[in-house]
């Protein structure tokens, strides 16, 4: 029976978030919370993997304040079998490194065969927690997973989407996959799922339960300092030399490279 761990983050409802122009931080007060949309795709994929494997257990995990339990209840309503809140005062103020550290310790306790997460959270958009989690565990990592073609307890064949196209990878499990929206359409919370979620007890694992060194968690364990926060500039589409012969395309490409090289 494979244990599948799904990492969830509770984020402010995207439609309501404003940046405080004075402090340049996100104004979260009084803003409704939601599950990071990419993580819902990760959860759905976890549930589908369980269904494909004909059994197993999907555990939703979130590090956050007590109210993050609501995100975990939503995961239970949408098909997760269990949920754990990683919660403690000492976890507060964590950057991605300290967050991934705590998630890695939780993975140590759950011993999953697969960890799924969204490609990034829509509030801070770093996309770092999934990869860092894989690094702490020293497990294979595949980002931007668009499809899990095959899965067995020992290995998986996945497609991931890159700017340049699609890659098909064969991966030994356990591994960490971060997923994109394309991978599935999350199911809606069912009536019985909501009922179960409402009544479920959600255990809270703190630093003692996880055996975490408080110096490695929360603000204390966070080497990152936010210097500035701003909406990212729009990324321009790359130019694809589609017309002409391969030789002409190569000349065009070489010209572009020369333009970019510092004199």
């Amino acid at each position: 029976m494979m244990e599948i761990m799904v990492c969830l983050k509770q984020v402010p409802d995207a439609a309501e978030v404003r940046v405080d122009p004075a402090t340049r931080t996100l104004m979260r007060q009084g803003v409704a919370a939601m599950v990071n949309p990419f993580d819902l795709h990760a959860l759905e994929e976890g549930v589908r993997c369980r269904e494909r494997l004909g059994g197993g257990r999907v555990t939703a995990v979130s590090m956050g304040p007590p109210q993050a339990a609501e995100a975990l209840r939503e995961a239970l309503a949408r098909g997760a079998d269990a949920a754990v809140l990683l919660g403690s005062r000492v976890f507060a103020g964590a950057d991605t490194l300290a967050t991934s550290r705590v998630l890695a310790l939780a993975a140590g306790k759950l011993a999953p065969g697969l960890i799924l997460a969204g490609k990034q959270a829509i509030d801070a958009d770093t996309g770092q927690v999934g990869p860092e989690l894989a690094a702490w565990l020293d497990w294979p990592l595949v980002c931007y997973v668009a499809k899990i073609r095959e899965i067995s307890p020992a290995r998986a064949v996945v497609e991931r989407r890159l700017d340049s196209g699609r890659e098909v990878l064969e991966v030994d499990l356990p591994a960490v996959f971060t997923v994109i929206r394309e991978i599935n359409e999350p199911r809606l919370p069912s009536f019985k799922g909501r009922l179960r979620a409402k009544k479920a007890a959600i255990p809270v694992w703190d630093e003692r339960e996880l055996g975490a060194d408080p110096a490695e968690t929360g603000l204390a364990g966070s080497p990152t300092a936010v210097a500035e926060i701003f909406p990212p500039p729009r990324r321009e589409r790359g130019e694809m030399p589609t017309a002409g012969t391969p030789a002409e395309a190569a000349r065009l490409l070489a010209g572009k490279i020369r333009e970019c090289r510092p004199a």
Partner: protein, 386 residues
Amino acid sequence: MLDYFLSEEQSLMVATARELAERKILPVRARYDEEERFPHEIFRAIAEADLAGVYIPEEYGGSAGGSPIMNMCLVTEELSKICGGIALSFASSALGALPILIAGDEEQKRRWLPRMAAGALGAFAITEADAGSDPVAMRTLAVRDGDGYVLNGTKMFITNGGEAEIYSVLAMTDREKGARGASCFVVEKGAPGFGFGRKESKMGIRASATRELIFQDCRLPAANRLGREGSGFMTAMKTFDSSRPGVGSQALGIAAGALALAIGYARERKQFGRPIISNQGLQWMLADMATQVEAARALIYATARWIDAGAKRPTMASAMSKCFASDVAMRVTIDAIQVFGGVGYSKEYPIEKYARDAKITQIYEGTNQIQRDEIALALIREAARK
């Protein structure tokens, strides 16, 4: 809306149905209406959301929780707020399941109800070309043949017809006995001798399928007969006692959905430099619409709860629920078009569809004239008893 003190389960049921309607039905309702497309994938989503069996007891895979009719009404209302046509796949399936719940024996319940709770569509068939308001005139015959029956005849205007898997069908087993000469049978799609006629093209509820059922020497085992021979009309009457609040809640949902759209539009639409909702004339229209909707809701919920509590003869209240709510739906949706003005008459906006969908609720499961007959009959009986 008033607080009707729904149970925790019912509140979650309503929330589930609401999210499903907004996410799955809202984006497709106009297209399904236009294309007269049956919403199989949406009914599947309803089943996956554990809503297909809200009126079926737990021991048969449902989640009735002792309030089957109230649950059926709540879900029907919620789905109908977004689309009365698509909601009908659910409501009419419940109508098909009710005869089994009411007259089926243990084995029959075990045979069909778990499948329906898991998403097998149902339907109920009485009406024929010459037997509408007068069902005793029906011609479909079920003739005893050894240990079973042979059915012959044609049913008409059957909701979910051709799409459903499980049909509760009324047929005469003894024409001489008139109202005591009918029996109710369960016929599954695919049974030899059971076919379908043409699909109606309709004014409203166009995402719902309405077809003829054709029986030509259709052989059925006696185990498919619900209740004893001759009890068919009794089963049908009891079925309607329970299902009519469901039609009422479809009408209620349509009216409530139209009212919400009208209020939203009246706040947005500006004429003479201000939103049209600031006109008292329009405010009073909305106030009357809202009052009618709430009165319909109160009547339906009270009736449904009374039935769930074991009412012996809820016929009058059921007829009132259906009749009142459907008349409300017709008035409210027509007024909602008026609030929208010119664009309300246009198919670009969703409001005209509400009025088209509302009309059928005054007609099917007994016209509102038949409902008034039932109400009057109950009044006379009650007065005579004193």
